[in-house]
Symmetry: C2
Subunit: 501 residues, 2 copies
């Protein structure tokens, strides 16, 4: 109860940014000299009694483990978390009719939550589709129906990088999410029960298709731009590849053209940790206690991949949460209390099954030609041609075929293999000929900057002569796009507003 | 039963190296051209029936979760894992008398498991003390009492980097470990029960002190060299700082002078995952089912920090374990089955409490002057001066004081703060004036190479004129020291055998 009540007073996905920046004060710099000797004296001056974290028989204390047990008890007696109440004030688009998915699944219908900022112009040519990261909601910026700051609060508004005095900005909660869009926590109209892990596998391509159903519904033929970072940058790239004639400009930040094994490994551990929580119960936890421990741990691991060593070096160094205490196995160093806090505040805020499905969709993302053709074939085999997207796919395949194909036919070396992979990517991005901004951050460990360089080089190899690639030396790692409004913001604004012949 | 039996037939810590190199075959390179199109055809040609991983109602299957439940049931009925039987054929040193620890704890006595290779010379000057990483045993190389390959098998032997025709090599299982040395799984002589989490907090300095009790016992006054990588490299550095007149040469590989927040964060998540396993039971699982799930997950996270993205890119790429199967939440990509395998084979092989204590000892490691003085003061406060080490500590403190101290007294900027930290490190390493080899690897994420550069620069700042620093461009990440016998081996051999005036 306590935890859920505390949670309900917070707001959605803006949290990560705010908490990251403000939750833990940065270590203060020493005002006077010989700090280290001084702190050594003050530390040892503390009485032995106050600093004890062990019982008389030497038994260590584990307050962090007790906390989890306390929450379990509270949740046993409390109401179930309702994720669709964490974020409010969004619009919904209800799609009527069957929606066919890449891996053979179908949804009888679906709903997308979305929010907009600015005004759609009379000729409907000023729309920007903004894509989100894994756990974000449609609430990218505050507005009168929801005053809480959004996850890209400073990037959207009059005069801002996404300038709402010029553009009509649309952001959705992705298909598979839990903030108002159809996902595993939704009720399956076929059974009247929650989907849970009967929800079909979805891809980032499926998510983008669903978004374009909304774009159609809004009467928008062509977007001024498709914009996104992290998973949003992958979707943004997918949107440009799937609907090249409907995307005027492309921005993809801290993303990739295909998920690489190190990123898959990092997400794998998060999923495994979550799935090992007995409360997860193979996804059937609705109406029961959700896997709060697994989600907390998964989020802590994820948080490590969102930031960087250099930032934490500056921010936390080797500071302990309480220098007067004996060392402990539970959070002890300041960096540990920070991670604990990040996990704590997230664990009842986002649906565990949504996390699993979307995390897996990221792993599966590969925009190379061979991967796209493979999915297209699977769609044809399972859904036949009675599919809204068959024409689109076939047109797309045709566009891919049109790319000049001069790969040698005898590949025996590792270099040839790599060359083939690069050519495969270039062909997969053959349709993406619109002006494109690719942004990478050198301190990003989750999507290392060579992956953004791969995107830029693949686009250039595919003949796109309007590719801008910036590599930032920011220290915030993967999360730089949430924080660095000066550097990231200017690049975005420049690309969106620069007149291009 | 099944799992434990399978485990018992394997041997200790050699596993990580062997499994890493051989367990999963590297992806084959294409022998003929147009591989990607070909594989696209073969993939989609598979019948829909064989590839299904869902039930008729769409319920996804989770074989990896079922496996954990199976093991839980098997362990419920089977004997308890006996970690001290995982490795065999070692000698033991039994220390009689109280052993005082840095953080105020005491051991009534302790035991160290150790193994040796080569022959101690008549003048006892040819000994090399080899320190281990977190989970390694004393079994660094095979010998007649234990024929299984050791964790540094190729590095030790006649003519090898640690040349047993010249040197007498000693390797111990660290204090706190579970392979024959006293640790949390040992019986407390005061109570007749296992220590579990009544075991006192230990530091890397405590481990080194215990090792030097053994060195005394062997009648060795001065080591030819102290050698180690990873946590072993931290211990090696500590040995040189604590016993400068007893260490002839120093080698520290892929280690650091103090643990940094990113490494602490990575170990924090591993500990949290382990401690959240209900079977862990605040450390009191002896005689019951051990926290096999938590250990498996912790090891999977750790494995990510042992290797590198570039290596996995070459080795696994985006290969799936079985291309004919539908995508699944359980291990699916080859990188996932690799991680799963690493966790699986480790989870009953190492004592969970040992992992916690030693992992925490790594976090606490800081060889700066202020940190050492702080610990020394704590020892004096809790153990008084009736301590074998008081004289040593006081001599050491005196050596530290002798270092020229010209730190400005008004520090107000971040640059001053960093300068002060560097000076604090240099003073902490002031006694380390012997010839030193520091080795770093550019692809190491757990101990990034700037941390080894920090070690080298601190030693030079402290006046050591015989510091060699090599930075390797190997792609194996932190584990390079286990694999690259050519590059790492030659550097080690050169440093140990080069005549130094």
């Amino acid at each position: 109860m306590l935890f859920w009540n505390r949670l309900a007073s917070r707001v959605g996905t803006a949290g990560r940014l705010l908490a990251s920046v403000h939750a833990v004060p940065p270590p203060r710099l020493p005002a006077v000299g010989r700090l280290l000797r001084a702190s050594y004296v003050s530390r040892t001056a503390v009485s032995a009694e106050n600093s004890k974290s062990t019982a008389d028989d030497g038994q260590l204390a584990f307050p962090c483990v007790d906390l989890l047990a306390d929450r379990q008890r509270a949740l046993d007696n409390g109401p179930e978390p309702a994720y669709d109440r964490v974020v409010t004030g969004y619009e919904t688009y209800q799609h009527q009719g069957e929606f066919c998915l890449d891996h053979g699944g179908k949804l009888r219908d679906f709903r997308l939550a979305y929010e907009t900022w600015g005004k759609l112009s009379a000729d409907r040519t000023n729309a920007i589709l903004l894509h989100t990261g894994l756990s974000a909601s449609s609430h990218a910026r505050s507005h009168e129906k929801n005053l809480a700051p959004g996850w890209w609060e400073k990037f959207i508004g009059p005069g801002r990088p996404l300038d709402t005095s010029k553009f009509f900005v649309i952001c959705t909660n992705v298909l598979g999410g839990c903030y108002g869009s159809t996902g595993p926590s939704s009720v399956d109209p076929a059974t009247g029960e929650r989907y849970a892990t009967r929800f079909p596998m979805i891809t980032l391509f499926d998510m983008v298709r669903a978004q374009f159903e909304l774009i159609d519904h809004l009467g928008i033929r062509r977007l001024h731009a498709s914009v996104g970072a992290s998973m949003g940058g992958m979707q943004s790239l997918a949107a440009a590849a799937m609907f090249p004639d409907r995307v005027g400009r492309l921005i993809t930040i801290s993303a990739c053209a295909r998920s690489h094994p190190y990123s898959i490994a990092l997400r794998h551990t998060q999923r495994q940790v979550l799935m090992s929580d007995a409360n997860w119960n193979k996804g059937h936890y609705y109406g029961r206690v959700p896997p709060h421990i697994g989600m907390k741990l998964a989020r802590e691991i994820a948080t490590i991949t969102y930031r960087s060593g250099p930032e934490w070096e500056q921010r936390f160094g080797r500071k302990r949460a309480d220098d007067t205490k004996d060392p402990a196995m539970c959070p002890d160093f300041l960096i540990e209390t920070y991670l604990d806090h990040q996990g704590e505040r997230f664990c009842l805020q986002y649906d565990a099954n949504s996390w699993l499905y979307i995390s897996k969709a990221m792993d599966m993302f590969d925009i190379s030609e061979s991967a796209q053709l493979c999915l297209a074939e699977k769609r044809r085999n399972t859904h036949g041609n009675n599919d809204l997207w068959a024409a689109q796919l076939s047109a797309h395949a045709k566009a891919l075929e049109a790319i000049d194909d001069n790969i040698p036919t005898d590949l025996t070396s590792s270099a040839d293999f790599a060359a083939n992979e690069r050519a495969d990517l270039a062909r997969g991005l053959g349709a993406v000929q619109m002006p494109t901004l690719v942004l990478g951050v050198q301190s990003d460990l989750l999507f290392p900057h060579w992956q953004q360089r791969e995107v830029a080089e693949s686009l250039r190899a595919a003949g796109n002569r309007t590719v801008t690639y910036y590599e930032l030396d920011a220290i915030y790692g993967h999360d730089t796009f949430l924080i660095d409004v000066v550097t990231v913001g200017a690049a975005v604004k420049g690309h969106l507003e620069n007149s291009i012949a």
